[in-house]
C-alpha cells in the first residue's frame, strides 16, 4: 500500500479554518471541524513534568485535565487515558493505561510536578472533496495559556488520496514555521540534566580542566538541593550524592593536580557533608524495591516483612530530617559555597606537581593505568574469590567509570560510549552483588535492633531469615554473572579498544601494543 507518511505541524496560533478554506477553493475542497473554538472550562489542564523534564525532552507534553491524562508527542501520537481519581506524583501510582506505561518507561522514579496551567481543545478536522467525501483527516490539539496559543496538527492520510494529503500539507507548511510549545506558550521547562555537557580543551593545563569538571558537577549538586529539601522524589538525593561523589573521585583520581593539603581538607569536607545522607539513600533503595522484596519470600513471611519495612521507613524519615536540617543549615551553605569558590579560578587553586600537564595526555594516562589495574584484579576473579576482592573490583570499576566520564569530552565520544557500555554492563552486576551483601548485613542489624519480646518479633525474624536466604542465593547467581561479564571486559578486543583510545604514545607512533592475556602480564 502506498500511503504517505503522516506530517506534523506546530503553530504559534490557532488553525485558521477560514483562511485554509479560501486556499482550498480552487481545488473544490473544504476543511471541516470545530478546532480552535474557545475551549470550555472542563478542558483546563495542568502541564506536568519531572525535574529533569523527562517528558519534554522525549518530545512530548503531559497534560492532566479533569477527565484525561494526555501525552502529546509532537513528532508522534497523542496518547490518552482517564485522569486518575486520586492525587498522584509517580507514574507507578497511576491506574493501568497507555500513558502510565509510557511514563514508567520514561521516568519511573521521578515525581511529576506542575509546570504550568493551560486550556486544551482537541478535534479531528476533515478535508472534504466536492462530494463531501473525507480525503484526509487532521488531528488537532490547541493549547491556550493566557494570550498565548500553540496548535499541534497531525495529518492522517487516507488510502487513495495522496494528492489531497500533499495539498493540505503544502497549505499547513505555509501557515508558519514550526514552533515548540515552550516558545509559543512561554512555558518554563526545566533545563536540568544530571549529565551536563562539559567543554574541555585537550591542551589546557590539567588544573583548568579539573576546575571545569568540578564546577559543573557542583552545579548539579546545588540544583538538587531544593527538591531534596522538599523531598519530592528519591532522585534528588541520589543525584546530589552522585555529583558530589564524582567531584570527590575526580579530585582523587586527578592525582597530583591539586596540592595535597587542599585535597585532604576537601576530602574531609565531603565526608562531613555526605555522612548524614548515607542512611537515607540506603533506606531509599530498600523502600523503592519494596514490592520486589515481598515477591522474593513466601506469603507467610509477608507480615514480618511489613514490620521490617515499617522499621526501614522510620529510619528513612529520621535520616531525611537530619539531611534536611543539614542542607538548610548555614554551615552547609557556607561550606559548599566555599568549595564552589575554590574552583572558580583555576589559577587560585593550590596546585600539585601535575597541575600544568596537558589535559588529554594526562587523562589518557590515568584512564589506561586505571583500566590495567581493573584488569589485574579481574583476571584473578573466580568462583572462589572472597567477597572483599569483588568489592574492591567494584570500587575500581566505579573509579574507572568516573574517570572516563569526566575525561569524556577530550576523546572520541562514540568510542568512549562503546567502552562505557561494556563497563556499565559489568558494573550492574557488581552493584547488585554489593547491594545484596549490604542488604544481608542491614537485615541482621534490623533483627538486632528489634526487641525479642516485642509484638511480631517472631514474624520479623522469620521474614528476615527467608529474605536473607533469598538474597544469598541471588548473590551467588550475581557472582556467576560477574565472571561471565569480566571475560568480555578484559578481552583482547576491549583491551585493544582501550589502548587505541587512551594509549596516546603508541597510537601516535602507530605501533601495536602488547595485549594483556588472562594468564597475567607483569607489564600491567
Amino acid at each position: 500500500m502506498n500511503l504517505p507518511a503522516s506530517q506534523t505541524f506546530m503553530l504559534s496560533a490557532g488553525i485558521n479554518v477560514k483562511k485554509i478554506n479560501a486556499l482550498l477553493k480552487d481545488a473544490n475542497m473544504t476543511l471541516s471541524g470545530a478546532a480552535c473554538e474557545p475551549p470550555d472550562k472542563d478542558e483546563e489542564g495542568t502541564v506536568l513534568d519531572t525535574f529533569d523534564a523527562a517528558v519534554y525532552n522525549s518530545g512530548a507534553l503531559l497534560i492532566q485535565t479533569k477527565f484525561n491524562l494526555t501525552r502529546i508527542g509532537w513528532s508522534g501520537d497523542v496518547t490518552v487515558q482517564a485522569a486518575p481519581q486520586l492525587q498522584w506524583q509517580f507514574a507507578r501510582q497511576l491506574p493501568k493505561g497507555p500513558v502510565r506505561d509510557l511514563l514508567l518507561d520514561l521516568s519511573a522514579l521521578r515525581a511529576f510536578t506542575p509546570v504550568g496551567q493551560v486550556t486544551i481543545s482537541q478535534d479531528t478536522l476533515s478535508l472534504l472533496d466536492d462530494e463531501q467525501k473525507t480525503c484526509c483527516r487532521i488531528e488537532s490539539v490547541t493549547l491556550h495559556r493566557g494570550k498565548f496559543i500553540w496548535t499541534w496538527l497531525r495529518t492522517r492520510p487516507m488510502r487513495g488520496y495522496n494528492d489531497s494529503h500533499t495539498l493540505i500539507c503544502d497549505i499547513l507548511k505555509n501557515m508558519g514555521n514550526p514552533v515548540l510549545p515552550t516558545q509559543a506558550l512561554k512555558l518554563r521547562i526545566s533545563d536540568y540534566t544530571s549529565k551536563p555537557v562539559i567543554q574541555l580543551s585537550e591542551t589546557a593545563p590539567a588544573r583548568q580542566s579539573l576546575c571545569t569538571i568540578v564546577q559543573t558537577f557542583l552545579q548539579v549538586t546545588r540544583q538538587n538541593e531544593p527538591g531534596l529539601i522538599e523531598d519530592l522524589d528519591t532522585e534528588f538525593l541520589h543525584q546530589w550524592r552522585v555529583s558530589l561523589r564524582k567531584v570527590r573521585s575526580v579530585l582523587t583520581l586527578f592525582k597530583g593536580v591539586v596540592a595535597a593539603e587542599t585535597l585532604d581538607q576537601l576530602k574531609l569536607d565531603f565526608k562531613e557533608i555526605m555522612q548524614d545522607t548515607n542512611m537515607m539513600r540506603d533506606r531509599d533503595v530498600y523502600l523503592l524495591s519494596r514490592d520486589d522484596y515481598f515477591a522474593l519470600v513466601p506469603p507467610q513471611a509477608h507480615p514480618g516483612l511489613g514490620v521490617l519495612f515499617d522499621l526501614l521507613q522510620q529510619d528513612r524519615d529520621e535520616a531525611y530530617g537530619k539531611v534536611k536540617a543539614m542542607l538548610k543549615s548555614r554551615e552547609y551553605k557556607k561550606q559548599i559555597k566555599s568549595i564552589q569558590k575554590l574552583f572558580e579560578n583555576p589559577k587560585a587553586l593550590p596546585k600539585g606537581p601535575k597541575a600544568d600537564a596537558p589535559s588529554k595526555v594526562f587523562a589518557a594516562d590515568l584512564v589506561l593505568k586505571r583500566y590495567k589495574k581493573v584488569c589485574r584484579l579481574a583476571k584473578n576473579i573466580t568462583e572462589k574469590t572472597p567477597d572483599e576482592t569483588i568489592h574492591e573490583l567494584r570500587i575500581q570499576c566505579k573509579k574507572l567509570r568516573y574517570l572516563i566520564e569526566s575525561a569524556q569530552p577530550l576523546f572520541d565520544a562514540k568510542q568512549v560510549k562503546k567502552l562505557l557500555k561494556t563497563l556499565k554492563g559489568l558494573q550492574e552486576h557488581l552493584g547488585s552483588f554489593n547491594d545484596q551483601s549490604v542488604q544481608q548485613a542491614t537485615l541482621a542489624q534490623c533483627l538486632d535492633r528489634y526487641p525479642e519480646t516485642a509484638p511480631n518479633a517472631t514474624a520479623l525474624a522469620e521474614s528476615i531469615g527467608a529474605l536473607t536466604a533469598m538474597l544469598y542465593r541471588k548473590q551467588l547467581a550475581e557472582r556467576q554473572m560477574i565472571i561471565e561479564n569480566l571475560s568480555s571486559f578484559y578481552s583482547p578486543d576491549t583491551q585493544e579498544a582501550f589502548n587505541a583510545l587512551f594509549d596516546l604514545k603508541t597510537t601516535k607512533n602507530k605501533q601495536a601494543k602488547p595485549q594483556v592475556d588472562s594468564q597475567g602480564d607483569k607489564d600491567l
Binding site: M1, Q132, K133, R159, G160
Partner: protein, 244 residues
C-alpha cells in the same frame, strides 16, 4: 482473505444496498474489508461518495496490479476500503475474452491485496457473463438477493441451472430474500416455496424499507444512520449468517 460475492442475474433486487451494508457490517466487526464495485454503474462508489476511478480503464483492471491497488480508496469508515467502478467496466467481457484463462483472471487481480484484507465483497453487475463466471469460480460464497416474486424465483432457478451446466459448485450459492413485503401473500407464498426447494436459503431476510431506499439521499450505508431500524439491522444479522 474471504471472498464474498453479492450477485444476481436480475437487476433491481438490492445487490448494491446489500454489498454496501454487508461491507460496513464486516468492517464494524473489525475485519479489514474491501468492497470491490464491479458494476459499471458505480452505485457502491456513489453511496460512499467515492468518485469513479479514472486510471483503472480498459484492461488495466486485469493487467496492471499496481494500478488496481492504487485505485483503492479508503472510505470514511474504519477498516473499510473501496474499489470504485467506472464506465469502462462495462467492457470487461471484451477484455476477458481476449485473455488467456479468461475465467480465472479475477483470482490473479485480487492476489496483490490478499494480505491487506480479511474480507473482500464483490458487488457484481446483473448478468451472466465471463466476469460473472470469474466470480463464480473465485468467490467463497455467493450471496444472492431474491425478491420473493415469480420472476426472481425464475432467475434463481436459471442460476442454479447454469451452475450445474458449467460444473460450478452450487454449494457456494446462498440466496436470501430481499425487499420483502410481508403484507403481500405472493411474497409469503414464494418464500415458502423457494425455501422448500433450496436448503441453503438464509434465515435472515431483508424487509422492504424506505430507510434503505434513502441510502441515495444520505450517501452512506443505511447501518450508519438507521442501524436501529429493524429492516436495516437485518443486514448486520445477515452478515453474521454469511460468515457462519
Amino acid at each position: 482473505m474471504k471472498l464474498i460475492a453479492c450477485y444476481s442475474n436480475k437487476g433491481g433486487v438490492g445487490k448494491t444496498a446489500t454489498s454496501v451494508n454487508l461491507a460496513y457490517a464486516s468492517a464494524l466487526s473489525g475485519s479489514r474489508t474491501l468492497l470491490c464495485d464491479l458494476d459499471p454503474q458505480g452505485a457502491s462508489g456513489f453511496y460512499f461518495r467515492v468518485k469513479p476511478s479514472k486510471k483503472l480503464k480498459n484492461n488495466t483492471f486485469f493487467e496492471d496490479t499496481k494500478k488496481f491497488a492504487d485505485a483503492i480508496r479508503e472510505s470514511d469508515y474504519e477498516n473499510l476500503d473501496l474499489l470504485p467502478a467506472n464506465m469502462s467496466f462495462r467492457d470487461f467481457d471484451i477484455f476477458l475474452s481476449r485473455m488467456k484463462k479468461s475465467r480465472s483472471r479475477l483470482n490473479k487481480v485480487l492476489k496483490p491485496v490478499d494480505g491487506e484484507y480479511d474480507v473482500v465483497i464483490l458487488d457484481c453487475p446483473p448478468n451472466i457473463s465471463l466476469l460473472s463466471e470469474n466470480v463464480f469460480k473465485v468467490a467463497d460464497r455467493i450471496v444472492v438477493p431474491v425478491i420473493p416474486t415469480t420472476l426472481s424465483q425464475r432467475t434463481l432457478e436459471q442460476l442454479y441451472a447454469f451452475f450445474k451446466q458449467q460444473g460450478y459448485k452450487s454449494s457456494k450459492i446462498f440466496p436470501f430474500f430481499s425487499m420483502v413485503q410481508q403484507s403481500k401473500s405472493l411474497h409469503v407464498e414464494t418464500m415458502e416455496e423457494i425455501r422448500g426447494e433450496h436448503e441453503q436459503v438464509m434465515k435472515t431476510w431483508i424487509p422492504f424499507s424506505t430507510h434503505i431506499e434513502r441510502m441515495g439521499v444520505y450517501r452512506a450505508p443505511a447501518l450508519t444512520y438507521a442501524g436501529k431500524e429493524g429492516a436495516v439491522a437485518a443486514y448486520e444479522q445477515l452478515w453474521q449468517e454469511v460468515q457462519s
